[in-house]
């Protein structure tokens, strides 16, 4: 009776090159260094520092999801769901930061 859907059907083997893995890793390291650099040398920028750090962290998370977690091979619905969650998260941040900026 169970209307089982075989989700495995949409999955297939993906062979990713070392070059792509290594390039992604280098990109993440560079973004981490950028975060450190901004926090050390841009501390007086306050909100902009925080916003930049959050932006870089979000880019890193997306890079990990897209390449390491194979989001690029997944069906479109996964990207839609991640977009919804990230949008919700962004609204949370904006509303919290709004309080800080207008306090």
């Amino acid at each position: 009776m169970k209307n089982q859907h075989s989700i495995e059907e949409s999955h297939s083997e993906h062979i990713t090159s070392y070059r792509e893995h290594f390039g992604t890793w280098v990109g993440l390291i560079l973004l981490t260094l950028m975060t450190v650099f901004i926090s050390v040398f841009g501390a007086d920028l306050r909100t902009i520092t925080v916003a930049t750090a959050l932006f870089i962290a979000s880019v890193k998370a997306l890079v990990v999801a897209y390449y390491f977690m194979h989001l690029k091979y997944d069906p479109r619905i996964y990207r839609v769901l991640i977009t919804i969650v990230m949008s919700l998260f962004t609204v949370f941040l904006i509303m919290v930061i709004l309080d800080y900026l207008t306090r």
């Binding site: 169970k2 859907h5 949370f92 709004l98 309080d99 207008t102 306090r103």
Partner: protein, 537 residues
Amino acid sequence: MTAIATQQINYLNVKKGIWSWIFTLDHKRIGLLYLYSISTFFLVGVILGVLMRLELFNPGRDIMEAKTYNQVFTLHGVIMIFLFIIPSIPAAFGNFFLPIMLGTDDVSLPRLNLLSWWLYVIGALFALSTLVFGGGPADTGWTFYAPYSVKTGTNVSMSVMAAFVLGFSSILTGLNFIVTIHRLRTPGMTFNKMPLFAWALYATSWIQVLATPIIGITLLMIVVERVFGIGLFDPSMGGDPILYQHLFWIYSHPAVYIMALPAMGVVSEIIPTFSQRTIFGYKPIAYSSMAIAFVGYFVWGHHMFTSGMSGSAAIIFSILTFLVAIPTAIKVFNWLATLYKGSIDIKVPLLFALAFIFNFLIGGLTGLVVGALAVDVHVHDTYFVVGHFHYVMFGGTGFAFFGALHYWFPKIWGKMYNMTRAYVAFGLLFVGFNILYFPMLILGVMGMPRRYYDYLPQFHTLNQISTIGSWILVVGLLLMIYNLIAGYRKGPKAAGNPWHGITLEWQTDSPPPLHNFDKMPELPEGGPYNYPNAKSE
């Protein structure tokens, strides 16, 4: 003879022994495991609540010290919120009835379902362990506000870890329901032909999945700050206590809808059944659940109007708060319109549903009072707020939980309770509830602050009335429990469809067989609430 014996095998008697229960993968048994666990913790919470009311019977010390009182109201809050109300209807009745109402044989991920219950048990043990380990139960209130929660010597770390683990249980249940609703609806059941209880659980599940992780990480931050002294929330270490409140309420306000939406789903089932009439405004009720879930994400700041949050942010949060009233009112009007010209049969489940509407209206309207910026300044952290949220949580969700228990009792156990005793118990509960909590609204307007074990002499009479109300409520509760247990043990066998409902759970035996249906259920023509007399209208 063999055929008769086969028919009598159901999910209750198919296997025996404790192991067949605590390691079961059957959604119905898991639902009952939740029901028994949740009910147990509800009674513990009630005992703590009654102790608080006894302490408040007279000004000054009556039965406990101030610090004990602080610990008692914290444990009462933690147990009632995290161990009772949040899992109550979804985990117990949702687990039991969602697959049946969808016409399938189980949830999509049965092992994950069992893991959810085990996580619930582990979280509960964490919470109870604070009674004996560390510095005793937390004395912070269930909100664990920083910086006090970072500094107090009581066992806050274990309390927040309990909430953390319980959060995982909640997420997994929500995830399971979302997948089940998307993948396992019986053929022909489109989203717009789903029962409204399923819609309510669907909206609830999205909140559970998307909002609960935020409280998880926030509570971990409390532990990190206590253990490693990192200044996240403590201003003396450069932290910001208002940031904690933001993070806490980003989850905990949507959590109010985790508590309320399933209750609304129960009411949406009970009212058409006992009116024998098509639900008025199926789509508005269904979509308003989603609207409440969505808008509910963006109103958390109304808990912080007096905390030091900016005025501009407060105005925005106040406006958004008023917006939530719209989908809620849509539901109430549609329920009342469903009753209009219906063949109303005033049985106990319907009384609980009507009590839900009455209590929830008081809770909702007093919510608008505290959602208004100017008034909130005066009533914030007074007994008005305590009265308000008990009207929503207990008067609303609690009564819907009791209503669901009476509505689905014959289906779950195949027995019927004594209806007269049930009427009396309902009356005691309803009267006791209102005598207990309505004085709190007045006390709040008079200026009595919450979370104090002592008060000024002018608050004495109303506190005594409130405490007497708690005694009536407890009598009603005991009578209800006795009646249900007696019904289970000695009650007459219930008919398969005693209320003449037409959603799919009423098409199967009582109690249901192991795989829910012996033959493929038939969807009612014209939607899930198209009652025969409605067709002739």
